[in-house]
Symmetry: C2
Subunit: 462 residues, 2 copies
Amino acid sequence: MAESEQRVPRPHVVILGGGFAGIYAARGLRDAPVRVTLIDRRNHHLFQPMLYQVAAAALSPSDIASPIRSIVSGQPNTDVVLGEVTAIDPAAKRIELGDSGSISYDYLVCAPGSRHSYFGHEEWESAAPGLKSVEDALEIRRRVLIAFERAEREPDPAVRRALLTFVVVGGGPTGVEMAGTLAELRKYALRKDFRHIDPQEAVVMLVEGGDRLLSAYPEELQRKTVTILERLGVDVRFRTLVTEVRRDGVIASGVEIPSHCIIWAAGNLASPILRTLGAPLDRAGRVIVEPDCTIPAHPEVFVLGDAAIYRDRDLKTGAEGVLPNIAPVAIQMGQYAARIIRDEVRNIPKDPIAADPRLTARIPFNLSRESRRPFRYWNKGQLAVIGRGQAVADIWRFHFSGFLAWLIWVFVHVFFLIGFRNRFVVLFEWAYSYITFRRGARLITGETAEHPVAVAGVPAGR
Amino acid sequence: MAESEQRVPRPHVVILGGGFAGIYAARGLRDAPVRVTLIDRRNHHLFQPMLYQVAAAALSPSDIASPIRSIVSGQPNTDVVLGEVTAIDPAAKRIELGDSGSISYDYLVCAPGSRHSYFGHEEWESAAPGLKSVEDALEIRRRVLIAFERAEREPDPAVRRALLTFVVVGGGPTGVEMAGTLAELRKYALRKDFRHIDPQEAVVMLVEGGDRLLSAYPEELQRKTVTILERLGVDVRFRTLVTEVRRDGVIASGVEIPSHCIIWAAGNLASPILRTLGAPLDRAGRVIVEPDCTIPAHPEVFVLGDAAIYRDRDLKTGAEGVLPNIAPVAIQMGQYAARIIRDEVRNIPKDPIAADPRLTARIPFNLSRESRRPFRYWNKGQLAVIGRGQAVADIWRFHFSGFLAWLIWVFVHVFFLIGFRNRFVVLFEWAYSYITFRRGARLITGETAEHPVAVAGVPAGR
């Protein structure tokens, strides 16, 4: 890799992370006279806003994930590396890939995403997994389905009740969507499948520390959300702080809630790799970025998406605030960074001199913060789905709830799903489960020490 | 469970295994005056003949698997238990479920399937996984995709060649289908995705100890199969015995073949649980069954599918032989066992006396081997798919190959896929990948010690 770098004088843009920000940055550089290297430790881009549907057995992982290589296969200037970045050295303009060497850059687009924050109780993670990756979602799906299976065979009513209690911690969009879809799984999809338990007896509890759900939404929709969840039978608990998480339950505001399936949707912690940037961080480890989404003293280093904290004025209300860590912000940040880079390299010729081995000097380009217009988030609105035909939407000045909001949600999400194939399969799966109330992806796969699924010497379906 | 058993006097049929034999036996008892308990250690029935398509990233697990509970949710007499059978006691008519107690039966339908046989070299399994379960298929998919990713970054040409060599061991249907689909993956689906390697340079090798592929097929189709595979670029090696399997290659007939992705399709070993039956076994651990698919001295114990070895006369050719361990045989055995049981319990009234707690004596039924007609396999033919529009079919006296055989294969397989949803999704996926040459399920998920995908401190796509 080092060798080909010296031979090619075009500016090198390294993108860390194939999430929304990284993918949209790469796509925006499609026709630019730069070389792009997109690095992720996974081979797929994940449509994370729908990940909870995998956790709830409604969709398969491949319905909402596309190989990063396929997404950028049409842009010859882009190289994809499956690898793990272990450090960033902004002074040397270089990233380290552990044992696999290092890569130099002219521009760095840093969008490594985030994991969950357990607020200092990282030991809670094994008892209360969060929902960020395909593996997370499959683990939650496994736990939910195993809980019903164990309850079906459990003679002790107290244990059975604990097995059939699902606790979702955190009343943001992920928590609300997860609670709504679990309530429906129990009510419709599993209705006729058990002989000794009634899945409808299962309790879905949504535990929120504050006094409202979806805090970024208008109050009217927050109230509506509670109404819809309660109509689905979700037990919504406000001002309830989780102080302990164990395998067999949580303690929330002093009350013990026995549960064998706890889902964490309460907080984010940005990737630890950001610490190596030497830039100011907030409490969640996010980089406090400049108006052009870069870090102080390094206009060539962009930090985007969940990794960034950006102060902005709402174009609608004029209020100062911090942009939420949601997909539309990440997408627009990726597009913005690509536009800045395109602008600054526009004097570089696009002809194939890049392949000329005699050229060793890099062609200069205009890297300068002064000429950049600050990033502006265009808030098109926000949407959260709660259940079958039930959603809330806040679009410009219009607030929708119920079926219309749900329809808007379906079309917006399917439209943004990357890749033709996924859109159709997902639409089909939704139509199917909407009409029949069934869920197609109810497989228990994988294994953990606690729930082995493949032990030698016992019967298996062949 | 013990309590409800005493209260219900209907004969109790316990089915071990939710594969083809077990599912078809359960379905055949739908309207019979018996109680059925179907036990599997997995929650899903797997359409195993298409599992190689999951391994080759063409389909998702949920496309070819259905929850067993859903399949039998319409038959109120059937109970599904997710559990692991640890022993069978034919004298006491009881099975043991490890710590979860035991279950008594009047009839036992034992169809636990098989795993791979490494012919005494069980240590080869980690280097050369086989293809029986969803987990197996996902592991192979991961290894295949990781091999291309590592090759893309590998500077050493010898290591790169080893990474791009895929060795399939065994020339039966699974080996042939796996080799054909890998050849196509490399040729079409991955064609444009890499910058430093050409996926078409990858070598797919099919290693067979004997001197033909698909030994159960007519010679004409065997030759045709070799022609089709070689046209796809598969390196077919006959009379080649694998004597050593390592992580970085195999030694086959004295020749070392460096490879980082070895797939085992060479032999089966029936479930060890069968040893507890006290019945005669063959070398592969299968039970040598009586003409009515039961074991000697226990006409109430059926052994079906991969677990059984059955001597039969071919209705077409009149030749004596052993029935192959394929899905149609398992299906017909399951239907046969259900028919026998239905016949023998037909005098039991169907009205809801079963729920009457005052009745504690079991109603007698006519369990007798004498009145049973022996099992007869109706050989409708056999089909193997080799690649895009390429298959071989031996149906009655007609031999097909090429596109027509492939079309027959598509419709036969989709028709037998259990569940409405899967049929449509699978047809759609096939049509999609047939038209576009792409594969939709190219996700690298899960983790092993060797290829961690989730290490703290490194960027992830969010």
